[in-house]
């Protein structure tokens, strides 16, 4: 099979996958109990601490009440909207378009989770090579079990402890938000530094929780690669162990980890849910959380659509890169 045909087939698969995901996302809100008008009424009563006048209830239900019965037409309308990238109007923020909300949150998530994914990957992979090169050595026997433990700790729990220790007790980091509210938004040094300051703690917790997976994966790949003949040969030729480790063993061991990395980049948009909630970070994960709590279906569907698209695009990219690097993949497909 040629590379072109391979890619065409993969493209076909991802097109079907996108369609499946958005279709799956269509009936879910419509089948479940509780509709947006009830969520709005509930929220308004909670905020005011009193029951709402009957006329208010009527008016809210008229606007957001039970969607009309014809599901088929609704479905076609829904697909058409998505195709035009028209994500509809938010209910919580009526009548603000969903795309406004999404664009407001997206840069923050990309910045925070994107950069930490790269950092975690670099740290984890680097340490993994060292651990795997001398498997059973002192570094390996301390770091590997410790990493296993760290990876088993629930992420949000780490984040909470981090917030408590460095935010509340030591006061080194701010507790909420994306930048200092006293500053003006723009490309200037104080603002950039403030974004760094506010992002540091959430970033640190993500790296802390995420690098373990890369480390363990890389270590095991290195352990197997180290026994390969070409590595032994290189060592026998008298090349320096350091050079062999980095140039020969690590390079080849990287391959599976690298596809994993591409997938992780795709997961960036969706992966920020817990972080953004703990740190009140203004990204897309928090948007999804808030919209779910308020049954803001258009926003939920919009965010989910975006997450699906990025994950699938990253997968496609990973597939293509892999196919370029490793001819065997093409043949198997």
């Amino acid at each position: 099979m040629t590379g072109k045909r391979f890619l065409a087939r993969r493209l076909g698969f991802y097109a079907v996958a996108v369609w499946s995901a958005v279709t799956l996302n269509f009936p879910i809100p419509r089948l479940m109990p509780g509709n947006p008008s009830l969520a709005i009424i509930e929220e308004l009563e909670r905020v005011s601490g009193q029951s709402l006048p009957p006329r208010t209830l009527e008016s809210i239900q008229r606007l957001f009440g039970d969607p009309s019965a014809n599901l088929g037409a609704q479905y076609l309308e829904y697909l058409g909207q998505l195709a035009r990238l028209d994500l509809g109007v938010s209910i919580r923020n009526f009548p603000t378009p969903v795309s406004d909300l999404v664009w407001q949150g997206l840069p923050w998530t990309l910045l925070l989770v994107g950069s930490t994914t790269v950092v975690a990957f670099l740290i984890g992979t680097g340490l993994g090579v060292i651990a795997g090169w001398r498997a059973g050595g002192r570094f390996d026997s301390i770091v590997t079990p410790l990493t296993t433990f760290v990876s088993s700790v629930p992420y949000f729990w780490v984040a909470l402890l981090g917030l408590w220790a460095f935010g509340f007790v030591l006061g080194w980091f701010p507790l909420a938000g994306g930048y200092d509210p006293d500053l003006l938004v723009g490309f200037n040094a104080p603002f950039a530094l403030s974004v760094l300051h506010y992002g540091a703690l959430p970033a640190a917790t993500i790296v802390f929780s995420a690098f373990g997976g890369w480390l363990l994966g890389m270590r095991n790949m290195t352990v197997t690669t180290v026994r390969e003949d070409y590595v032994l040969l290189a060592l026998a030729k008298g090349l320096s162990p350091r050079r062999v480790m980095l140039r020969y063993a690590a390079r080849n061991a990287m391959l599976p980890n690298f596809t994993g990395f591409a997938l992780a980049l795709g997961g960036v948009v969706g992966g920020a849910l817990l972080t953004e909630i703990v740190f009140s970070y203004p990204g897309i994960g928090y948007l999804l959380y808030a919209s779910l709590q308020q049954r803001d279906y258009p926003v939920m569907q919009g965010v989910f659509f975006l997450i699906t698209l990025t994950v699938l695009l990253a997968n496609l990219a990973a597939d293509s890169v892999y196919a370029l690097l490793d001819p065997r993949v093409r043949e198997r497909a």
Binding site: P33, G34, P36, L38, I40, E42, E43, R46, V47, S48, G49, Q50, S51, P53, P54, R55, T56, L57, S59, I60, R62, L63, V89, S90, I91, R92, N93, F94, P95, T96, Q104, F139, I142, V143, G167, F168, G171, F173, L175, G177, G178, Y179, D180, P181, D182, L183, A189, P190, L193, S194, H197, A204, F208, E276, S280, P282, Y286, A290, Q293, Q294
Partner: protein
């Protein structure tokens, strides 16, 4: 260990990089003119949406500093309605025609005066667009009488409904800017209102409002009101550090964790809303159609334990549904300050009087047994309080009640449909008639049909008779008399049972701004959702002596 060391290094590096950022913060002059409001329940970002009549729950916050209603509700005076943008609001004899005198000298922030035409337009919006009737208006028509007078008409006496003119959802809007807009798509990004502030700058994580110097009500000691998003936990720390001056949140443990650290500047205030969290019986469903069962369950709610775990001692609700702090003068003397203690013996006598026994944790009468369920909103962690009630019923009566938490929207749906045994609701409203109108028999629907109010399906001729009298007058003396009739009915027949009073929680750091009202002595509540009250609050603050 090496790994840990490396992490520490990374963290330290980030920390140093950041503290540099912290120092570059401009402080001093800007902050001195500004009061900062930390909004704890609005998410992490705001959208620019000043479509103030739209039903969204997360529109741009604090728009009530820009748009004002005709009246305000005075919670320091029994929840009565006082004029605001109106100079007066007066009913005719029958209570079907309300004449509104428009306040003179009020200008929108673009310089145009507020006219009777603007008022007619604003009051007509919910009539022309029923979808945008967020204020729940009940009047049928609006007409302009002369250049400064507007009249609205009701189908039936509207005495008890005048509070709708105090709703922040019924603001006075400039007709010329609003009449051509499509409310379904317009987000009104550049708001023009009669209120004391204008939008100075908008960013997703901070909104700055600037005080007008031509506001009809007077001048302000501060130049800017800044609104920033925060979370409940972070907000507490920011209040402690003085980064926020003003916030709204319930803070259990505030006395030790906040007030004690600086009693002068750290204020934690609770203002009674006049309502309560109550247990509602589904009186259309046995065994809760039996007054003895209702009384027995109400008598064994451990109200003291619940307010203890809430860290709000002394806030147990009385038996009438009217809260002492707001309706002191309205309550029958025997109900004033009344705390309902757990009375297991009395409750057992009630069950016996109704012919009920408890066997295997079930309520039994004439061979039929019932296993009650109590539903509540799990989103606020109410489950722990339900557990306290369940434990009490078990130890006092041997009755096993099943707790059933549900998320808000689902719970609300089951309440509307009458698919519950016992449930927790917020009771309350403007004035005694607002509190009791939910018991009107005509609002009761059969189980399975959605009811807007009267979720407990209460039908009682005596209630309806007393309510009709209560809603048919504006004379305060007679209102009080009829309200007391309703109190006796509620205490005797127990259509619902109040558990603890609800409050507006205000947390203040008065390090920069002093002169805040206190729950002991106030004529306005420093709560933004109440509209004009926050205007009065800000206007009467003073810069703290540094």
């Amino acid at each position: 260990m090496a790994r840990k060391g490396l992490l520490v290094v990374v963290v330290m590096m980030l920390a140093t990089a950041c503290s540099a950022g912290g120092q570059s913060r401009p402080n001093g002059s800007a902050r001195a003119d500004t009061i900062v409001f930390g909004k704890t329940d609005g998410g992490t970002t705001y959208v620019r949406n000043y479509n103030v009549v739209g039903p969204g729950t997360q529109k741009t916050p604090n728009s009530e500093m820009i748009y004002e209603p005709l009246a305000r509700i005075d919670y320091s005076d029994g929840g009565t309605v006082k004029p605001w943008l109106a100079e007066s609001l007066e009913f005719d004899e029958k209570g079907t025609r309300l004449t509104i005198k428009v306040r003179q000298g009020v200008r929108f922030s673009d310089g145009a005066p507020l006219t009777a035409d603007d008022v007619v337009f604003s009051l007509g919006l919910p009539l022309d667009n029923p979808d945008f009737n967020l204020a729940g208006t009940t009047y049928k028509a609006v007409e302009k009488v002369d250049e400064s007078t507007v009249a609205v008409t009701f189908d039936s006496p509207g005495f008890s409904e005048v509070n709708q003119f105090a709703s922040p959802a019924l603001p006075m809007l400039p007709k010329k800017l609003w009449e051509k807009q499509d409310l379904n798509t317009w987000t009104n990004p550049d708001p023009v209102g009669t209120g004391p502030f204008v939008l100075e700058s908008f960013a997703a994580q901070q909104i700055t409002l600037r005080a007008r110097d031509d506001y009809w009500g007077g001048t302000f000691p501060m130049k800017y009101l800044k609104i920033i998003p925060t979370s409940a936990d972070a907000g507490k720390a920011q209040l402690l550090r003085g980064e926020i001056d003003w916030a709204l949140q319930a803070w259990s443990g505030a006395q030790e964790e906040y007030v004690a650290k600086d009693p002068q500047a750290h204020l934690y205030q609770m203002y009674a809303t006049g309502g309560a969290y109550s247990m509602l019986y589904n009186t259309a469903r046995p065994p809760f159609d039996d007054v003895h069962v209702r009384r027995a369950l109400a008598m064994t709610i451990p109200r003291g334990d619940i307010v203890t775990t809430l860290n709000r001692p002394g806030t147990e609700a009385g038996p009438t549904g009217l809260v002492d702090l707001v309706y002191k003068d309205w309550l029958k003397p025997e109900y004033r300050g009344k705390v309902q203690q757990v009375d297991a013996e009395g409750a057992k006598r009630e069950l016996a009087a109704g012919g009920w026994t408890v066997a295997d944790g079930k309520l039994v009468k004439d061979g039929t047994s019932y296993e009650p369920t109590i539903s509540f909103n799990q989103d606020f962690g109410w489950g722990s309080y339900a557990d306290i009630m369940v434990n009490s019923w078990k130890s006092a009566l041997g009755l096993q009640v099943k707790p059933a938490g549900a998320p808000g929207a689902n719970l609300y749906e089951s309440q509307q449909l009458g698919k519950f045994d016992l449930t927790i609701v917020a009771t309350g409203g403007a004035g005694a008639s607002g509190v009791y109108s939910m018991l009107a028999g005509r609002a009761a629907k059969p189980i399975g049909k959605k009811a807007a109010t009267n979720l407990g399906r209460w039908r009682d001729p005596a209630t309806d008779a007393a309510l009709a009298k209560l809603l048919g007058t504006s004379d305060v003396g007679r209102l009080k008399q009829y309200a007391q009739e309703m109190q006796s009915i509620v205490v005797d027949k127990v259509p619902f049972s109040p558990i603890y009073n609800s409050y507006w929680f205000v947390v203040i750091n008065a390090g920069r701004w002093t002169g805040w009202p206190t729950p002991e002595k106030f004529s306005y509540v420093p709560f933004p959702g109440l509209g004009p009250d926050s205007t009065m609050t800000l206007m009467n603050l003073k810069r703290a002596a540094q």
